[in-house]
């Protein structure tokens, strides 16, 4: 599993909620394009070599992703669906190596349709997004039907949910989570993704005042995190999120216990967030002085991360220490050399999106096998 800190350094954070940043998509596409190193092999057993769809898959496998995307856009949907039916049928074949070859092609097809879906999502083209996702999901579902615990379908679900969370498309992420739960089976990471979707939806609605169509449910989030911990007791991120959720729905005693368990022996990023959440918890209890101490502890763990200073300045302002609050703000905002993405809070707030590139790299590796 990719470490939190590693991913912080490697995954570009460019989530959006509205019409802004396209950089995440470009990053996603760049990673997607670099991994597809296949020798060209026609799908002669399933699709005619002259089939446009077979040509698209061959282009993609040959590393010509842009050409593949353009070629796919030219194929009428009826022909795409017809080609898909042939591949799905070949997957069930008992003749020779047709089935494993079909499976390999289906993995390629799932990724290129996913890529098309993401491009459509970035253009706010919902019908196209839904169509492409449905195409990809049909392949994944078929692959999972043979082996629910197969890594490709599971990782594909996690990657797609992580991407959607990064774009704050929470209703779609929730639907994916439900589908994954039924189709590819549970895993600690899937429970985490399901819980994070609920937590993000609730937070947007109740903490940020957003009028989101997906409201989120903290009880569902808590249940998902507890399931994740039951399956993997040392899952620190699940414990951290459980502590946060307990805070948000007012179980401060439970939250104190859970958050206290995060930090010792954990990566600094987890400890930092645990202290931040404790600070928030004490603020909610009206104990601003203790909150100040927790925020200070967070700044000690990651001195260049900004959020802890903002929280610290805010609580000082509330306490009436205006000059100290202003000094704290100046201390963290005057250093303009710190990169944007160095604060674990920025990653936490986007659910599992920080894992998206890691999942994608795993999928590419599976395609090569």
């Amino acid at each position: 599993m990719v470490g939190f800190g590693d991913s912080l350094r490697t995954f570009l954070l460019h989530g959006r909620r509205g019409s802004d940043v396209m950089i995440a998509r470009r990053t996603f596409l760049a990673v997607l394009s670099t991994g597809a190193v296949f020798t060209t092999s026609a799908l002669s057993a399933q699709l005619a070599p002259t089939s446009p769809y077979a040509h698209v898959l061959d282009l993609y496998r040959a590393g010509q992703e842009q050409a593949a995307r353009r070629a796919l856009a030219e194929i009428p949907s009826a022909e795409i669906e017809w080609s898909q039916r042939i591949l799905l049928k070949a997957f069930d074949s008992t003749v020779g190596d047709e089935s494993p070859r079909a499976a390999a092609s289906m993995r390629v097809a799932a990724l290129i349709h996913t890529e098309r879906a993401i491009a459509a999502h970035d253009r706010d083209n919902s019908p196209e997004f839904r169509y492409q996702v449905r195409m990809a999901r049909t392949y994944v579902e078929k692959l999972a039907s043979r082996d629910r615990s197969a890594p490709f379908p599971r990782t594909w679900c996690l990657m797609t949910m992580a991407y959607l969370q990064g774009r704050f498309s929470l209703r779609a992420a929730k639907e994916f989570g439900d589908w994954a739960h039924d189709s590819v089976g549970d895993s600690p990471e899937l429970f985490l993704a399901i819980g994070a979707t609920q937590e993000m939806g609730w937070t947007a609605q109740h903490e940020e005042g957003a009028d989101s169509p997906f409201k989120g449910d903290l009880k569902d989030a808590e249940r998902a995190y507890r399931n994740a911990l039951a399956a993997q007791p040392d899952f620190v991120e699940a414990r951290l999120r459980l502590g946060r959720v307990l805070t948000l729905h007012g179980d401060t005693e439970g939250a104190v216990r859970v958050l206290a368990e995060v930090g010792e022996g954990s990566e600094a990023a987890y400890g930092y967030l645990a202290r931040m959440f404790e600070g928030d918890l004490f603020e909610r209890r009206g104990d601003d002085a203790e909150a100040e101490r927790r925020y200070l502890a967070a700044t000690a763990l990651l001195p260049r991360a900004q959020t802890a200073y903002v929280a610290l300045a805010h609580v000082r302002h509330t306490l009436g220490a205006r000059a100290a609050a202003a000094a704290t703000v100046r201390a963290t905002t005057l250093d303009t050399s710190v990169p944007d993405a160095g604060d674990p809070w920025f990653w936490y707030a986007r659910g599992l999106s920080w894992r998206a590139n890691g999942y994608l790299a795993e999928l590419k590796e599976m395609m090569r096998q």
Binding site: L13, H14, G15, R16, R17, G18, S19, D20, V21, M22, I23, R123, D124, N125, S126, P127, E128, F168, E207, E208, G209, A210, D211, M276, E292, Q306, T307, V310, A311, A313, H314, R316, H317, T318, L319, G320, A321, R322, A323, A324, A325, A326, T328, V329, R330, T332, T333, L334, T336, V338, D340, A341, D343, W345, F346, A349
Partner: protein, 302 residues
Amino acid sequence: MSWRGPSRSVVLAALVVTATVVVDAQRFTSRAVGVRVDVLVTNGGQLVRGLSAHDFDVRDEGVPQTVSQVELEQILLNLILVFDTSGSVAGDRMRALLEAGKALLDGLRDQDRVALVSFSTRVRLLTPLTSNRQQIRAAFDTLDAHDATSLRDAAFAGLALRESDPGRTLLLIFSDGDDTSSWLTTPKVIETAKRTDAVVYAVVVPNQRVFWTPQRGATIHTIKDAGKFLESLTEETGGRVLFASSNSDLRAAFTKTLAEFHDRYVLSYTPTGVSATGWHRLEVKLKGKSGKVTARRGYSAE
């Protein structure tokens, strides 16, 4: 290390000024603690000028107060610019923002001070309050658009940077997107705003959303929505939201904001008949005249 300010029992938030530090000493002849209220009066969308203190009915917790009017020329202006530099601002919008920001400087008096805060995922103080225009212009040239939008954290930072001087503080926030990465919640920032006397204006570029239907394909709709946060923040502090319909309108929107701020009335009074601490609800109305009065909803006395 002690972070506690020494004067918590004395200072009634930044809104409340002690008489002796105000420049206009003739108006404040005692050491009594005074309250200053920044007021905008419009009628049919037009600014109403030429009013005097006698035209206003100011009530503190429902208790009528005797007010005087402070001449604006005698008050230093602290302009804190809080600019969204998230990825969506890159390109033409950033160029328009720079031009608008620099044009804004031309409308200031020599002694007025400006600070520049930019925000994307992080909040950056590019220059603290200064009257050095060259420093500000140089800071403008360092603006660079990228990453996400920590709007609420940036607004808080701007409010917290308001210094305990007798000047008026205008916080001008520019943003074109929703918050995606702040730690602070809307209520927390609004509470901070209640404890300062800064007036917050926001200039917002409306969102364009694409809607797809099988019949019509893609249609683009412009949504004039500043979001609950900016609407609440400006309303709470007696400011307002201005929409720039396009990048080229940013300059006009900024200039209008400053002009409007110059045309506001600053009323002051020494509270009588009310508690010395806690939240004070303010009502400001016109006496015998028609017009819409915009002022902060109250102040926090500590």
